[in-house]
Every structure is written in structure tokens, then in C-alpha cells.
Amino acid sequence: MTDSDLAIKFDGVSFAYDRETVVDNASFSIAHRDFVGVIGPNGGGKSTLVKLMLGVLKPQKGTIEVLGHTPHRACRRIGYMPQNSHLDPEFPVSALDVVLMGRLGITSAAGPYKPTDRQAAMHALDEVGLADLAHRPLRALSGGQRQRVLIARALAGEPELLILDEPTANLDPAVQDDLYDQLRELNKTITVVIVSHDVGFVSLYFKTAICVSRKVHTHSTRDLTNQQVTDMYGREVRLIHRDNLETGKCCD
């Protein structure tokens, strides 16, 4: 595999807040059209790793390449969905207003959005099943619907790489499954990276798992064992493997 086939490449990357090392000498690469789950315990550095990919944080050591460039240069080609928690749910915007924000960086530098922006935003809302609610005020939507609005915003910029931070946090199990199915559909053309605390389902949907707890390891989800995950979390955690689920076996 040559470097041009890689969506993300970390080479000896270390990052510390003050003196506390959060990411320690991480080297890994993610191929185009991979479906990646970033898993690990709380405070283990999952969100830090994502912020390094986006260029929001700069590593103290090592180099990061995203889509063949520095994260700063690549960030407009990334669709990013942050955790919902820091956003004001009472902010006076409609669902479509929020999704249109994903067109910044593509649309003109000033003045109103263009018709092509509106089409792309409506298409993105349609992809997450919210086209009917485009003109609804954000504050009239449920937590799960707001989450999907943010996913649509990430999609509206027609990204080559989609990074979602805990996209299933506020969703019902049935909606979660729908969302993962939609993401698998998108994954046919773009790379998808998802931060998840939901270890159980990792091996069900993802092709690759990035396990983060200060040290960073990548595994093919087929090879990931219960023991590796248990070691990382410091307590027993069970994986569900798709093969086992399909054949009705439990994994042990």
C-alpha cells in the first residue's frame, strides 16, 4: 500500500496537555474507505486523537497526514460531527440553517448561500432521514433528531473523510441501527471514522478498531479478542462478532 492510498497516517505522534501525556508515540495508518471505530476508556484520549486528526490540536512530536496533506490543509475535506453537549439547544436556527453551516468553505466568502448549497444541504438531511423536518426550529427537535442534524451538517460539505464523535450517544437502539446502516452505505465511497464508547457493537459494524488508552493500537475487528479489550479497559468487556452473531454463537 502506498501513502496515496491512505486517508490518515500518524507517525510517532505524541501529545500532552501540560505534562500529562494523553497520546504516546502513536503510529498507525487508515486506508481509504475503511470503516474505523475509535474505542477506549473515558479520558483515554479518544477525543484528543480526533482533534489531532482535525488539526485542532498540534502534536508535540511526530507528524500527521490526512488525505495526503497536513490536517490544517485537509480539514475542509473532512466532515466532522462534534459531541452535541457543548451546543446551545435553544439557539434560534432551523435544522436547515445548521446543515448549511457545513457548506462554509465551499460557498462564496460573503453574502447568502447559493442554490447549490441548499440542494447539498437538503440532500444531506435526506440522507439522515430528516428532509421533512428541514424547516423545523432546532429547539423543537428531539435529542436524537438534533444529533442527526449534526451528522447531516458533516455530510453537507461532501467530505472525503467523515469523523463522528459519539454519534449514537442520544439515539434509541433502533435509530442507532438505522444510522449504522446509512453510514455503511456512505462507506462505499468515503472513509468513516467513529468515536464510540459502545465497545460491544464495534466488531459488529467496523472493519478496523483503533484502541486508545494513551498508547494507540489498531486491529482488524476480526482479530480483536476479548482479552485485548479487557486489558485496555481494566475490566471485563465482551465483544460481539458479526460472524458469531450471524451463526448464533456467543463469543468466548
Binding site: 434560534p92 436556527v93 453551516m101 462554509l104
Partner: protein, 287 residues
């Protein structure tokens, strides 16, 4: 009231006052909506109070040093924009001590103003008019300045509407889309600063924050998109300033304070009405 309507025809100062009130309401509704949506009325308050420093220095230079071309309002424009950029920079950088630093700047700006005013002859009446407004003494020169500021605020506030909206809602995301968040945030605060100067002529700097935020706060109870909030806030602001002038005229009350009392009353009525409506709705649902 009849006396007020008759006076409009004859009294040029009253005509100026009405015009300033109506013009100022436009900037007030647009920028007040950004301030309320982004929840930065505390920052706007800091900027407003720093204008006293600029007005005090300008008036000192005018009266004592003899720079007769320099009006207090010019000093207010300069001080407001400088304060906006300093306070904006502080709020972008010093996240943990933001409130402390803004409080200190807030009071320091006023202190500078009071010191310069104390060293200038004619202390009392000018200080009162800066603090509580003198809409009935607005000169034609002031009127032109207010109109010019209004045009600048309105033009930039609308041209960069999408940018400002994105920066106010989710600055981190906007930055990842290549938007220069620092630039737009400081520009937004500078426009808030110019709006504050416009409103200082109407109600004075002590009452400015109420006129900036209450119409937008009322409007956001009824409207759910920012531009709709702006339109309704402009209308409420116009009604309040005109009603403030009309109701204060015959009994010779201070028009600035009357305007704010009307705004505050409308805000209170809005909240009470919402309460009654929502409790009725739950009663319906339960019954």
C-alpha cells in the same frame, strides 16, 4: 399625548430625537439578536461602560485642550471599538478568568472617564447625560454620525450573516470549515460596540444593555430563526423608543428611563403570557 403630537410639528429637537430613536432601533434589533443568541450581554455591558472613558477624554480635549472638532461621541466610537477588540481578545484567550478581566476593564473604562470629566469644567450635567441619555438634545451632527454608524452595522451585519451565525452557534466547527473565527468574532464585537454608541445617544450607557437585549429577548420567545428574531426585535425597539418619547413628554419624565421601563414591562408581560399559555396547555392535556 396630544401635546406630544402637536409638538412634533414645531420642535426640531423632538424631530431629531424621534429620528435617532427609529434609526438606532435598526442596529439595535440586528446586533441585539446576535448578543442574545450568543449569550454575550455581559461582554456587551463591558464594552458599553468603557465608552465613558472615550467620552470623558474627548470632552477634556475639546474643552480644556481646545480640540473643538472632537466631540464626545467620536471618543465613544474609538473607545468602544478598542474595548471590543481587547475584551474580545480576552474572551478568546483567557477562558478561565474571562469574567474577572471583563469586570476589571468595565470599571477601569468608567474610572478613566470620571477622572477626565472631573478635570473638565461643567461636571454635573454632562456626566448625567452620558450615563442616562439625552435624546432630546441630539444635534444634527450627532444624527448624521448615528445614521452613518447604523448603515455600517446593518451592511456588515447582513453581508456576513451566515458567517456570524456559524461562529455564534459552533465556533469550533466554523473554524474547521476554514472560517477565520477570531476575525469574525472580533468584527461582531466591534459592530456591537458601534451599536452601543448609537444607543448611548438614545438611553445613555447605564441603560444601553437593556435596550440592546430586551427587544431581542422578547422576539426570541416568538421567533425561531435568527433573522426573524432580528426583524421583530427592530419593530419592538422602534415601538419602545417612540412610546418612551411620547409618554415621557407631557409629564417631563426622562425619555431614556421611560423607554427602558416600557421594554422591561413588555419583557415581563411576555414571560407571564408564556407561563399562562403553557400551563393552560398542560391543564388541557391533563384534563
Amino acid at each position: 399625548m396630544i401635546e406630544f403630537v402637536e409638538a412634533i410639528g414645531q420642535n426640531a429637537l423632538l424631530q431629531n430625537a424621534l429620528l435617532v430613536g427609529v434609526i438606532a432601533s435598526v442596529a439595535c434589533g440586528v446586533m441585539g439578536s446576535y448578543v442574545v443568541a450568543r449569550r454575550i450581554s455581559y461582554i456587551a455591558g463591558g464594552i458599553a461602560h468603557c465608552t465613558l472613558g472615550g467620552m470623558g477624554i474627548a470632552r477634556y480635549l475639546n474643552r480644556v485642550v481646545g480640540w473643538t472638532w472632537l466631540q464626545p461621541l467620536h471618543g465613544a466610537v474609538l473607545a468602544a471599538v478598542i474595548a471590543a477588540i481587547i475584551i474580545g481578545y480576552v474572551s478568546l484567550r483567557a477562558r478561565q478568568r474571562e469574567d474577572t478581566v471583563i469586570s476589571a476593564l468595565w470599571a477601569s473604562g468608567m474610572a478613566i472617564g470620571i477622572l477626565f470629566i472631573a478635570r473638565t469644567p461643567g461636571y454635573g450635567e454632562d456626566l448625567m447625560s452620558y450615563l442616562f441619555g439625552n435624546i432630546l438634545l441630539v444635534s444634527t451632527g450627532d444624527l448624521y454620525l448615528v445614521a452613518a454608524l447604523d448603515v455600517v452595522v446593518l451592511a456588515l451585519g447582513l453581508i456576513f450573516y451566515n458567517r456570524f451565525l456559524a461562529v455564534c452557534y459552533d465556533a469550533e466547527f466554523a473554524r474547521l470549515r476554514g472560517v477565520n473565527v477570531e476575525f469574525y468574532y472580533l468584527l461582531l464585537l466591534s459592530l456591537v460596540a458601534l451599536t452601543v454608541v448609537v444607543l448611548v445617544t438614545v438611553v445613555g450607557l447605564v441603560l444601553v444593555i437593556a435596550l440592546l437585549t430586551l427587544p431581542a429577548a422578547i422576539a426570541s420567545h416568538f421567533m425561531s430563526r435568527l433573522w426573524q428574531v432580528m426583524v421583530v426585535a427592530i419593530a419592538i425597539s422602534m415601538l419602545s423608543t417612540v412610546a418612551g418619547l411620547a409618554l415621557s413628554y407631557s409629564p417631563q419624565l426622562p425619555p431614556g428611563a421611560t423607554t427602558i421601563a416600557i421594554c422591561a414591562g413588555a419583557y415581563l408581560a411576555t414571560i407571564l403570557m408564556k407561563r399562562v399559555l403553557s400551563s393552560r396547555r398542560t391543564n388541557h392535556a391533563n384534563g
